[in-house]
Amino acid sequence: MNAGDDSAGGPSDSPTRAEPFPYGILGVDLARIVRSIPADEPPPLAPNAELAIIGRSATRLDARDKVTGASRFTVDVGLPGMLHGRILRSRFAHARIRSIDASAALRAPGVRAVEVLAQPTAPHGSNASTVRYVGQPLAAVAADSLAAVEEALQRIEVDYEPLPFVVDLATARRPTAPPVYTADDAPRGSASGYPAPAGLPLHGNVRGPAIVDRGDVARGFADADVEVESDYATQVQTHCCLEPHAIVADWRADGLTVHVSTQYTSGVRHELAEAFGLPLAAVRVIAKAIGGGFGSKSTLGVYGRLAVGLSRQARAPVRIVLDREEEQIDAGNRPSTWQRLRLGARRDGTLTAVRLTSYGSAGVGLGAGVWSLAERLYPCANFLGEQHDVFTNAGAGCAMRGPGAVPGAWGMEQAVDELAERLGIDPLALRDRIDPSPVRREERRIGAQRSGWFERRPPAADPGPIKRGIGCAQSLWMTNVQLNAACEVRVHRDGSVEVFSGVQDIGTGTGTVMAQVVAEVLGLTPQAITVRIGDTRFPAGPPSYGSRTTASITPPARTAAWHVLQSLFREAAPLLDADPAALFAHEGRIGVRDDPARSIALAQAAARSRTDFVSAVASRADDYAGFDVRMGDAAIARQYLGGVQFATVAVDTETGIVRVERVVAVQDCGRPINPRLIESQVQGGVLMGMSFALFEERLLDRHTGHMVNANLEQYKLAGACETPDIEVIVLENYQANSATDAYGIAEPANIATAPAIANAVYNAIGVRLRSLPITPAAVLAALGKIPSRDAP
């Protein structure tokens, strides 16, 4: 067989073989299942307990470089003759550009290139150039120094004709609100969010509704013994990556190279090839150390194209690094949402109807829905969902860790608690009744034990001003897979090993888990594997968004390593006087399975290679059980990811201050490959969720349209003092779906935290907070200690 062949069609027209796989939840129902798999896939991997490297907490390969500052991020890239670039941005939230004159900037000292994006309005308003938010890019300058760039930017003359604008969701919904777009120029679909399908109607600033109508909700509510209905709102959250967006673009006659902080090297290559009319082969994208993305670096965006345009013009490398203010106002955000949820249930808790109406704002962009969590988490025959996007004069939203599902869970997981109270049923018992997932059932069971759930008291039980409570909430997320994902493994004649893929490591430890998988196959240690990733010259890498990296890249890594090992077995067989099929690799040696005393060093077999190295390339096979959904290169596995989190909070009812004291997070991600890295991801998800619940909020001034807290001082991120005790428990949930059976964790770990905290706050004080963030002001208002502010 050709190990490098990744061009074959689906499993249906390829040879297959049947193999028994571990299947089910460890400690619950782990059993075997026979799957028919493509013949060139490796044999089933045993459960973690029987493995040497997978399932163990290998230290991050880049740990030392990260903590000593040796890692090179894009901002550390300096090329000979490199210029500095910066962007001129709109000062107005909404304005027509009457004219823009950059000629003086072009003549300024040190200036090498100027790109102008905004085209002045033609007479009579045709072909008008309009800016729609504060911070919208207008032009960019490249010069010898940053000081020269600043100087030149001030010489660009922009004549604005200010227009009426609206920055808040509630006002923008009104028919009388200033229109952000006209019907002709409004975006139609969404690149990143949910649901925002193309072709929805536009009324004023409201696009939608996107409707899901199943069964008959009217009948469902008529059949209900009990109903609950409430409104829930979430604020705009920004990504706050520690490393800002950064690019070094180097346009040369023989092709374009960009160093960029991105979640998707291959995607950036496609964007640039299309934008600049270059063949894919002429575009190289490199992303080494990356300081976080959380969705905001999924695509290249305007700043990146400006850097490339400047480099092309100046015939020199150009670096653009966004500053913190630019990060806050024009690098994406989690849209705000408002939703009304109505649940109908029978007395035993069975859901008879679910009705969801939502309005969300991604600023000038789309994709501000609350996803399909309310529709999917608890199956109900009668469901009606109507979701709307509302345009405002603010920077476009984009995907952010669990997009849609985070606000979706904020509503649904509180509504279910409200229903449980109305029914007089324990919130976990209600979920046991209406949630069919065996995985979450086990997660609830474990979490209840670890969190002290059974000592839970009625709301507001503490007599003093400090009141404590406990709450739980559940997570649901798509088990995403990218099929356009490949990996090459090379074993050199000296036995040294290299692994190649275009995939990037945005800080999660992707390179480390790839090394673990390859090491497991070859009988080596992860430290013995040199992982080379983050470069489009290597085999196609999947994106690092949608929690899909591990699911997409570890199976081809194992498959490629397995093919290389078969080659090594063929080289070793004559030396060991054994059949290649009788050999195994262990601790750097190749031995005979039935006679382990007979063995040679792996390097000895590698030395016999015809060429300098033995190599194999493999790509991501389809999930063995098939997919729930498949769209082009992307697919979603049949079983979604879950997770249940329990929060313990203390509320000072005199000051309104809420502190989260403890979170127990029970999560699943198929087969866990590196428990410590998973724990780190879950802790990050919990912290981000807690920070979202209590502190973070983008604040736009309604009279000027400017973000008043465009920094990391007054935009408040949780710090060490606010960090709770976090206990992470990860299930082993074998799905028999791929060569590693591993899936993602980043997003599911972020979805349940905020509603778990809100449910705990309710349990503490007996008053429900349905709008985020839960600030002292919000708590004091909810307790009736100050007049309430208008709900959005």
Partner: protein, 348 residues
């Protein structure tokens, strides 16, 4: 981005004063903060931020770190003299200050973040500019920066003043000032000729009525040289509490310093209740103190004082939550002081 500037250092307070041709407030009242003058810099925590944010662009900075004994702590009989250059970290760690002025040490220990406390100075903390987000935005030229409009009044004023907020609604940003005013501290200002004037900090932090561009009366050719603390008599009790949305690296929503002078029998001879993050200057809650003087302090008395502390507040549209917060904090801090605890430490 920061503009180019010249850098020199001064070796004595008078040399620094002589070189300090302007002050931050004067320069920032000009359109873009650009000035040909020279401004002094101690830790630079606030000054460099203002420069990086494009709000201040002095032609020259004069470093104060080479001044001998600028960060010294001298115990004078029962009082103390604190050099303006002492860092917050050093102030917080000094055993003598912790013993005699525990609320001051605690306030210093709880300010900002460890990294900032290692660099920020006492003088800089007292002289830092306010954190109002409109004042801090180069896109909003507000009253305090020489403009004609207060953006906070009809904008987002959730963190703004609840007292003295009719024209400009900033709150004074200094945590140390809250405690030092409660303690009755003086400041010592030194001029170019080496002469000094000494005046109560509370007076120093009261600019001429109608001048909204500054938070104190420091003049050009003058530097804040030292802070003098009064002696601590037998019956003095003090406490300091603050609450923010976060517990570190955040600005308080409410802050209270209480100094009580108790007779041996427990009767209160004198009291100072000062609110921080409440007004453009540390706010003396006169009515609250009045509730305490002459009484034996108990929960009921503290509750009455707390109610009195906020009775004449004038909250804005978005900062009504500060009233219950201050009320709780004043009551708790009075009780903490009366019971010999340093701060109200409930849920921190």
């Amino acid at each position: 981005m920061m503009k180019r500037f010249a850098w020199t250092t001064a070796e004595s307070p008078s040399a620094a004063a002589s070189a300090a041709s302007t002050i931050c407030a004067e320069a920032m009242a000009l359109t873009d903060g650009a000035t040909d003058g020279a401004i002094v810099m101690a830790g630079g925590i606030d000054l460099l931020d203002l420069m990086k944010e494009g709000l201040l662009a002095p032609a020259r900075l004069i470093g104060l770190r080479d001044i001998a004994d600028f960060g010294a702590i001298d115990l004078e009989r029962d009082g103390a003299r604190l050099g303006a250059g002492i860092t917050l970290a050093a102030l917080a760690a000094d055993a003598r200050i912790r013993r005699r002025y525990p609320a001051l040490a605690a306030a210093a220990a709880g300010a900002a973040s460890p990294q900032i406390r290692n660099v920020a100075t006492l003088g800089g903390n007292l002289l830092q500019r306010p954190r109002c987000w409109y004042f801090r935005s180069r896109h909003h030229r507000c009253l305090r920066r020489g403009g004609v409009h207060c953006f906070a009044h009809d904008g987002d004023n959730r963190y703004h003043a609840i007292f003295d907020n009719r024209r400009c609604a900033i709150v004074h940003p200094s945590t140390l000032a809250t405690v030092l005013v409660a303690l009755g501290a003086d400041v010592q200002l030194t001029d170019a000729a080496g002469g000094s004037r000494r005046l109560p900090l509370e007076v120093f932090l009261t600019p001429p009525a109608g001048d909204l561009t500054r938070e104190n009366i420091l003049q050009p050719r003058e530097i804040l040289h030292a802070v003098h603390l009064p002696p601590i008599s037998e019956g003095i009790r003090m406490a300091h509490s603050k609450r923010g949305e976060k517990d570190a690296f955040d600005w308080p929503l409410a802050e209270v310093a209480v100094v009580l002078d108790l007779e041996p029998g427990g009767r209160c001879r004198d009291a100072a209740v000062i609110l921080g993050a409440a007004a453009p200057a540390p706010h003396r809650a006169v009515n609250a103190a009045r509730q305490l003087v002459g009484a034996v302090i108990d929960e009921k008395r503290a509750t009455a004082a707390a109610a009195a502390a906020i009775e004449d507040a004038t909250p804005l549209a978005d900062n009504g939550h500060k009233l219950p917060l201050f009320e709780a904090l004043v009551r708790r801090t009075i009780m903490a002081a009366a019971q010999g605890r340093l701060e109200d430490s409930i849920l921190r």
